[in-house]
């Protein structure tokens, strides 16, 4: 317990977040609801890893359905180190216990967890890695990504799991993706989004500044730009994410599998008691919020508007990426988080999501590398990996 919810093979080198299915191994998604849920099949990403010869070490602990900051809402003993919140998979990579892990990024949790543990996590372009076999919440933005301690390891694992899968209707048609660490960083132009930089605390700003200096030392230019829709992107993604999550977790109703309340008088009571007893506070808040934004009379001004904002944000970010190879931003507002009162979870995650929302809502690839975030245009993962690889070498 703690880091692994279930150990599969002690000599394994890759961990799988517990929001991703491995055949016959319980997949809890960090929720009491799925405490004893054994999936009948493995996720496509897991199948591909195994086919490529990787041995799965176990199922890493996650926050309930992956909705939180970095794993603190897990029903199963969340991980903390020195009194600070840590993500299980990221911390296992940081400790060198595994080479890499795969996880689902739906609202930034793995990107934040990587930053808090000083490792990397890539959320690739939406549609490049199959979502078949993940405990899906925010279908329009979630992606399976890779945790590792170097850009080189990320490149290896991502190259294995990316590629078309006919079992996922949102999977893009390209069969295979080739990633590289060797793009010419010296000719690249990178920009920092002023509005996001200003939202971070001093330590985080210092990290960004230091990272910018290293990029410059590689010959790239770094400039500051303005993006006037970061808060709209944050709120819009919050709406879409919560609505989709509310809808997707509605299948966890105590009827077919998962937790069922021991006593009930009728079907309504079975639903209400099972879900009340098995879901944590953040999931409940997300369900209520998601339900509200889809309700009659609210749909036009909430959900539908969020869809329209998504388009505007995409256009504006794409416009920046027409002039720059990559965007550099904070991935968390702070460098560490103390455990907090669960009743504040919804606001807490919302507040932090301003940094992670743009890649989530646009589907653009993002790399959380050593405490900062790099964003590039669709399919330009190699730009991100080459920058991170170059920066790693300046540190070596």
């Amino acid at each position: 317990m703690g880091y692994f919810i279930n150990t599969i093979n002690k000599s394994g080198t890759v961990a799988v977040d517990d929001t991703i299915l491995v055949k016959d191994v319980p997949a809890t998604a960090g929720s009491r609801m799925l405490e004893n849920f054994k999936p009948l099949f493995s996720a496509e990403a897991v199948e591909r890893l195994e086919k490529a010869g990787y041995v799965i070490a176990g199922k890493a602990n996650v926050g309930e359905f992956g909705l939180d900051l970095a794993g603190e809402t897990s029903y199963f003993e969340p991980v903390t180190e020195n009194g600070c919140i840590k993500g299980a998979a990221a911390e296992l990579v940081a400790k060198g216990e595994i080479k890499a892990a795969i996880g689902v990024d739906l609202n930034g949790a793995p990107r934040r967890a990587a930053a808090l543990s000083g490792v990397d996590f890539i959320k690739p372009t939406y549609g490049t890695v199959s979502r078949y076999g993940i405990i899906s919440c925010a279908a329009s933005g979630e992606q399976v990504g890779v945790y590792a301690s170097s850009a080189a390891d990320i490149k290896d694992i991502l190259g294995v799991i990316a590629g078309h899968d006919s079992k996922d209707g949102t999977s893009l048609p390209q069969e295979k993706y080739e990633y590289s660490l060797d793009e010419d960083v010296s000719s690249m132009k990178v920009c920092i989004i002023a509005e996001l930089y200003e939202k971070a605390d001093g330590d985080t700003k210092a990290k960004i500044d230091a990272y910018a200096e290293k990029i410059k030392s590689l010959g790239a230019t770094v400039e500051t730009v303005s993006l006037d829709c970061v808060e709209q992107a944050q709120t819009a993604w919050q709406i879409l994410m919560a609505a989709e999550t509310c809808n997707n977790v509605s299948r966890f109703d105590g009827v077919k599998y998962g937790y069922r309340t021991p006593e009930y008088k009728n079907i309504d009571e079975l639903y209400v008691k099972s879900r009340t007893e098995a879901f944590g506070f953040l999931t409940k808040a997300t369900v209520i919020y998601g339900s509200d934004v889809l309700s009659k009379g609210r749909y036009e001004n909430c959900y539908d508007k969020a869809l329209r904002i998504r388009r505007v944000v995409c256009d504006k970010v794409k416009a920046i990426l027409a002039s720059y190879d990559a965007i550099l931003t904070p991935v968390c507002g702070k460098t560490e988080y103390k455990p907090y009162d669960a009743l504040g979870a919804f606001e807490k995650v919302y507040e932090e999501s301003v940094f992670t929302a743009i890649p989530s809502i646009t589907g653009l690839p993002a790399l959380s590398a050593k405490g900062v975030q790099l964003i590039a245009d669709s399919f330009k993962e190699s730009v991100l990996l080459s920058i991170a690889h170059g920066v790693e070498r300046t540190e070596a």
Partner: protein, 469 residues
């Protein structure tokens, strides 16, 4: 005051696809054991994603063509959320924002019924309640089976129009291979209101949910008309917009619990399913694969020399017309084939209480061939047909086993004729004394001896020759 009915229909029809709408489980097919036809996707397990069945989309487009609709070449799927144990994901995938077909019509001859839209959606499962153990079971076999919902405009003015429309819909959909439209596989929600004749305003509407039998639909509409008129004229009750059900035992509608109807379905576009774009090429491919309509078929049959009324009956049912087409293709004369199907086959169907024609066209063609070629008598042909309907026998083997051949040896007929003459002295004498009727009696005896075989003309000839010797 005279009142008129204003009725609109929402008709759900199961599509004839080999697999379900979003997974590869078998789709429309015969009843199985509960939960035989279920996978992680259609039972709502996490991790599975929907992948659209292309054939279902094509069938829906065909339905659009049949009903003169405009096809939306950009169409999307949406989620409709509600909790019920027969709905494993707690949402149904349907089309709310961009239905696949819009603005069509169905011509009922005197009147036209507008079609507002046709949309594709998945069916729900089935609950089975066991009173003995006070337990409810869920059967997901039907979950995610593809349906189309055909939404009419409120253009019906009588129960008869509704029934005519539904019959026509059924035959059109069967013809195009869109749906088998089997018993219970076509379900209707009937929206009904009443207003003074000539008025343009709409009255208070009730919706009668989930009706599948035509006679019940008719009865429910008649019941509602009386209820609404009574409420308006005699203030028997206060009409409210509500959803009702038909109670077939009490022969009346009753309101559903308010709770069931107050739901907010929280529709939103399904992010797991990309919009479907039907380009011109695909659209034309689907159009080219459309079979002839019932009207076109009937017209074609008339050209083949079949009377209008008979052509209409043949064309109205796919099984009848399919059998007819095949039998004719095997070389049978069209008029003869029509008469065998409409008289003899339908006679057998009536006798055996069958709702559809189930006969191998090759067997029917062989029977017709034998009768027309004089190999067996028409009476014998009917006997074989009856055996085919009952036990699906082999035509030639059955004829042989039962000595049905009309071409029996003439010497055997002569032998039988002589035998009958020898055994019926009285009748022979009568005949010789001029009683013509006696001839008929002797003829009957010979036929009886030959068990209906042998050409009647030959028998008569021989009998006369022997008697006149």
């Amino acid at each position: 005051m005279k009142y008129e009915l204003v009725i609109g229909l929402e008709t759900h029809v199961e599509l004839s696809t080999d697999s379900k709408l979003f997974c590869s489980c078998g789709g429309h097919s015969s009843p199985k054991e509960p939960n035989d036809c279920v996978c992680p996707a259609c039972s709502g397990m996490p991790g599975m994603l929907p992948v659209t069945n292309k054939h279902a989309i094509e069938l829906a487009v065909k339905a659009g063509f049949m009903l003169n609709c405009k096809i939306n070449q950009y169409t999307t799927f949406d989620k409709k959320s509600y909790y019920y144990p027969d709905l494993p994901c707690a949402y149904q995938i349907t089309q709310w924002f961009n239905p696949i077909c819009v603005d069509g019509c169905v011509d009922l001859g005197e009147r036209k019924i507008g079609i507002k839209q046709i949309h594709v959606e998945e069916d729900a499962g089935k609950l089975v309640h066991d009173e003995a153990t006070n337990t409810s079971f869920v059967d997901f076999n039907r979950t995610s089976v593809p349906l189309i919902e055909i939404v009419s405009r409120p253009d019906f003015r009588s129960a008869d129009e509704v029934i005519t429309y539904l019959k026509k819909l059924k035959s059109s959909l069967q013809f195009a291979g869109i749906s088998e439209c089997e018993e219970g596989a076509m379900r209707c929600d009937v929206n009904i209101s009443v207003r003074p004749e000539g008025s343009n305003e709409l009255g208070v509407r009730s919706e009668i949910k989930n009706m599948s039998s035509l006679s019940e639909i008719k009865d429910a509409i008649e019941f509602e008309k009386v209820r609404h008129v009574d409420a308006i004229e005699r203030h028997t009750e206060m009409l409210v917009q509500e959803t009702r059900r038909w109670d077939d035992v009490k022969r009346r509608t009753f309101p559903m619990r308010n709770k069931e109807t107050a739901a907010d379905y929280r529709y939103f576009p399904d992010p797991n399913l990309m919009p479907i774009v039907i380009d011109d090429e695909w659209l034309e491919e689907i159009r080219a694969s459309m079979p002839a309509t019932a009207e076109e078929k009937a017209g074609h049959y008339e050209e083949m020399g079949i009377a209008a009324k008979e052509a209409g009956v043949l064309a109205s049912d796919r099984k009848l017309s399919d059998t007819f087409d095949k039998v004719v293709a095997m070389g049978c004369n069209a008029k003869t084939a029509a008469s065998w199907i409409l008289t003899e086959c339908m006679g057998q169907m009536k006798r055996l209480e069958l709702t559809s024609l189930e006969i191998e066209p090759a067997k029917l063609a062989r029977i017709i061939e034998l009768v027309e070629g004089g190999e067996i008598t028409r009476a014998a042909g009917k006997k074989v047909l009856s055996a085919v309907f009952e036990n699906d026998v082999d035509v030639d083997a059955y004829c042989e086993e039962n000595s049905l051949s009309a071409k029996i040896d003439n010497s055997f007929i002569l032998e039988t004729v002589c035998k009958v003459i020898a055994e019926n002295g009285k009748a022979v004498e009568d005949y010789k004394n001029g009683k013509v009727k006696a001839m008929q009696s002797l003829f009957g005896c010979v036929m009886k001896e030959l068990r209906g075989n042998g050409s009647p003309d030959v028998i008569r000839e021989m009998l006369e020759a022997e008697l006149n010797k």
